[in-house]
Symmetry: C2
Subunit: 204 residues, 2 copies
Amino acid sequence: MSTKERIVEEALTLFSSRGYQGTSVKNIADAVGIKDSSLYKHFKSKKEIFETIVEEMARRMEAMSHTFGLPDDTTVEAAAFAYGVISVEELVELSRKVFLFYLQDPFAGRFRRMLTIEQYRDREIAAVYRKIYMEDSIRYQTVLFEEMIRQGVFREADARAMAINFYAPIFFLLNKYDSPECSVEDGLEELERQVREFARIYHK
Amino acid sequence: MSTKERIVEEALTLFSSRGYQGTSVKNIADAVGIKDSSLYKHFKSKKEIFETIVEEMARRMEAMSHTFGLPDDTTVEAAAFAYGVISVEELVELSRKVFLFYLQDPFAGRFRRMLTIEQYRDREIAAVYRKIYMEDSIRYQTVLFEEMIRQGVFREADARAMAINFYAPIFFLLNKYDSPECSVEDGLEELERQVREFARIYHK
DNA sequence: GTCTATAATTTGATAGAC
DNA sequence: GTCTATCAAATTATAGAC
């Protein structure tokens, strides 16, 4: 891993626990093992490190979408169709994947925490936060459930309300089990209970 | 309002948008309209201002519980019994109250934002955050729904899963409509849709 | 691409006049 | 309880040697 990559790595760790303003350039340099002045050979400012992290996340989100089979904006209809034949067990598995990705993926977990911290100081950051964890998630799952209702997997219902009823508990448990104090296993167990209750309600 | 109260007031506004570390003592003093050195006649340190805010919130939460008829730890069973006769309309009204309190109450809204920002840097803060917005909320509503099932208002179901299905969308929409960019009316509308879907599912 | 040295500013906090 | 003056430390960032 190059020094530049290590800077991004350590900066994300620090930003995601102590916040942008709570992290000094020296903190980052110390974590990397170089002097703070050396850091300026890789980035022209502290702000540029932050912006690089946001860009890097956008790149990784796209890559992950492909790996997980989660669709990006352009293929959402196609994916909804593919997921149309999903079973309850597959729905449990999907929820586990989303949950563990946002909670534990070495980059995604810290990135989510960083945005959570920084959302109130900058409108642009707030917009990115809402887009990723609210609007995109709900929009995707609404299309998914619309298609699944059409295919007769789920009962007739308000697809958007369904999407929120599916995703809001994931979001809630994500925030609840975010602390190192909480066991991920407990989170997964509570999540599975919730998804099974969801399936019990809506599944035909 | 005394100078001490105005310091707490302005500090909370700044902490809740820029974070504790992102706010300097001078920022607070400027907002109050005094010199930073004068501030030390009221508080011995910046940290003491933060701690005063947390204590003040605990006091206000208790006061609000009485105003709203929301129970504290000791009276939860009694309140569940009182709410036992609730109607769907009353459930909509309860959700609106909780939503607007956490979002718009001049103290509670900023306090929630502050804890959201600061939760990752301090385990004690994280515990307070989880207690207020997760554990206490879910525990209270679980008892509430248990009682309502017992009284035949709701169908037989897992009361804890119900509580999460009721509260998680409130929590999700709270975070979504937290930005000044979003209209509170849209949030309330989406909330009501969600509560009506909840009632449709569980109400007898 | 790392280091030392340094600049300019800001930080949290104190002392003491009024 | 406000102010001015001051402090030591930390902050972001640059210059220049190697």
